[in-house]
Symmetry: C2
Subunit: 380 residues, 2 copies
């Protein structure tokens, strides 16, 4: 794949060669102890990453299947509050509508949540409140701890999507009171796409509905995991578990503290580089809603279209992502997820600068300013 | 994995080295045309394998997710008839109960269906009738064509699980009138575990319920596939698609006619070998319900426990499957799926004979009789 552009999109992330190699292993029986050990290593490492003692399972399905597992096992005609400030918040809303009475608190994408409004709705009574921790579509991190406190105060179950925070940023499931936390394999966990994990609190177990969707029935996952040898209720995607196991080993080798520091540094460098070439970040933040450490959303500058910007960059060897849905054409996004390197970020900004200069959006005298600012952050 | 026992279980099957190698490829964006081409090759090849012109999609999930997709998109409080003659028939029944009013026609596992009873129930009116084509748990193939005719006569939608027939035996979705056919990747398709496919007829599209489970919403699959470049509604398990694409290429190279003939021959050889060492097949068959060509279910002979039989064989280098649930300890199963070879079957029977002789279940003078019978079938 030497001629492929460098993949700098917020998932699926580039995989470590060790992860790729692990996935070329031959099939084994998913009812054997060898698979059981792999399954356990995956789910127990995720528990550590999420700082939780809660039961944790791996579903063979995308992050969206994990989001639906969370909602569909807790909500059956019940009231659910969804917090929306981006595309994945909308996904919680849309899933919620299939199972219960949704009150959706809609904030402009990439802007701060109004905690007062959230409390107001919780005070009316709700079984579940669902929020996306790191809103990939808009480049913001929502106030998990504060919303967790409010959920506890009003006795609502707190469901949180940590798909693009887990493995790259701090997630404190137990401390923040997250009853079901959902991850996706293909982001900061550094694993192949196609697996989701869910961690489930005792309070969530005590509140499960009867007859959720069969494939996503968490009680079945619990029952299978509690056998003498842990297994999955349905045939798992064995190859992906091979990859995830290796990704978990890599995370343990690095250590979550180092890993988070590395992600924080990377995002900081991207922001500094963007500022140095006069680009404006998309999110509006406050004390609680802050910039994401795993993906930076940047406004597409006047004078160039999204198609020209990203198309030219891709032709020059770097593939980045644009905005989704309502942000299509308005922003572009640079991830700092998993095993990204300073060198990759430098290449990205080098090509970005070149492209902006080519389209007369950036003055040629500014060439190198972004990369220099980026390096400065890494030097400090 | 040189010291691993030979995996002779009815899925996940051993994968071709080309399939394994394909899965060590680096991630790509699932919204790029490169992925679109892979997705199309997978689903279009499955259409050919199933002999259908119906829309076909690949779900990132196990065969069970495909079974649930079929039921949950068609049934919402409606009457559904499920035909049960094994574990996977029960799965349709259990899934059906989550969505509608189930009438379950229960036949002893591995015995013929009573077409009269099926017609009787269809005559009362039902929106859907669901059946497993090849019942892996019991080693029988159910009469798809006959049940399809009855479904048509009474205007019921016909849902069929072809998880262990597709790719190994003849499946005629259009001719038999199957409205939704479900496959699983890890059986005769020769692909890694973790993908399911569904083919959907126009009649099924016209009868879809509103708000099925979000992750399994077939209308979302249709909408995404009909974009300028076909895509999946949620992030797909890219690695598994790499593997499935290669598996599809291998099937096209062999040709389905040759492939089916090879499976038929393999199953015939297994049956002959079993008879030659005085083993009795488990299924009871008739004109319509016949022996499976992809898995042979054999009664565990008196004088040896399942644990001793399969444990000893595994220690001697061949891993086979036992019975599931009510057949636990009563049968064992030898698959003829995907790229199995005469050599592998010979090794399996060699070890089986050795084990039966060791436990005084088979007379030592019979050593080699199974393998010889097996070879005879291959010679003819």
């Amino acid at each position: 794949m030497a001629n492929e552009p460098l993949l700098m999109i917020p998932g699926p992330v580039l995989l470590h060669p060790r992860v790729l190699q692990a996935m070329s292993k031959q099939m084994i029986s998913h009812r054997d102890k060898a698979f059981s050990a792999i399954y356990d290593e995956c789910r127990f490492t995720v528990k550590d990453i999420l700082n939780t003692k809660n039961d944790t399972y791996v579903i063979s399905g995308s992050g969206s299947s994990g989001m639906e597992a969370a909602i569909s096992n807790l909500v059956k005609g019940d009231r659910i509050i969804t917090i929306v400030s981006g595309k994945f918040g909308e996904r919680f809303r849309d899933i919620g509508k299939r199972y219960g009475q949704v009150t959706s608190l809609e904030f402009e994408w990439g802007t701060p949540l109004d905690l007062g409004k959230i409390e107001e709705e919780l005070a009316k009574g709700a079984k579940v409140i669902a929020m996306v921790h790191n809103e990939t579509s808009a480049g913001v991190k929502n106030p998990a701890e504060e919303v967790g406190k409010l959920a506890k105060k009003y006795d609502a179950l707190f469901v949180m999507d940590t798909v693009t925070s887990a493995g790259g940023d701090l997630v404190e499931v137990d401390k923040w009171g997250v009853d079901i936390a959902v991850t996706g394999s293909q982001k900061c966990l550094g694993a192949p796409s196609g697996l989701a994990t869910v961690s489930v609190s005792q309070k969530a177990w005590d509140s499960m509905v009867s007859n959720p969707p069969y494939y996503l029935d968490l009680k079945k996952y619990k029952k299978s995991a509690e056998k003498e040898r842990a297994e999955t209720p349905y045939t798992p995607a064995i190859t992906l578990f091979y990859g995830m196991q290796e990704a978990m080993k890599i995370i343990k080798e690095e250590g979550m503290e180092n890993r988070i520091a590395r992600h924080v540094q990377g995002a900081k460098a991207v922001r500094a580089a963007a500022a140095a070439i006069d680009l404006e970040l998309f999110p509006v933040t406050d004390k609680y809603t802050v910039l994401s450490n795993t993906v930076t959303a940047i406004k597409t500058p006047a004078g160039i279209t999204d198609k020209d910007l990203r198309g030219t960059m891709k032709a020059k060897g770097v593939q980045i992502s644009g905005g989704q849905d309502r942000l299509d054409g308005k922003i572009f996004r640079i991830p700092t997820m998993n095993a990204f390197t300073q060198e990759q970020l430098e290449k990205t900004f080098d090509v970005l600068e070149e492209t902006l200069i080519q389209f007369n959006v950036l003055d040629a005298s500014k060439k190198g300013a972004g990369v220099e600012a980026l390096r400065k952050v890494y030097k400090n």
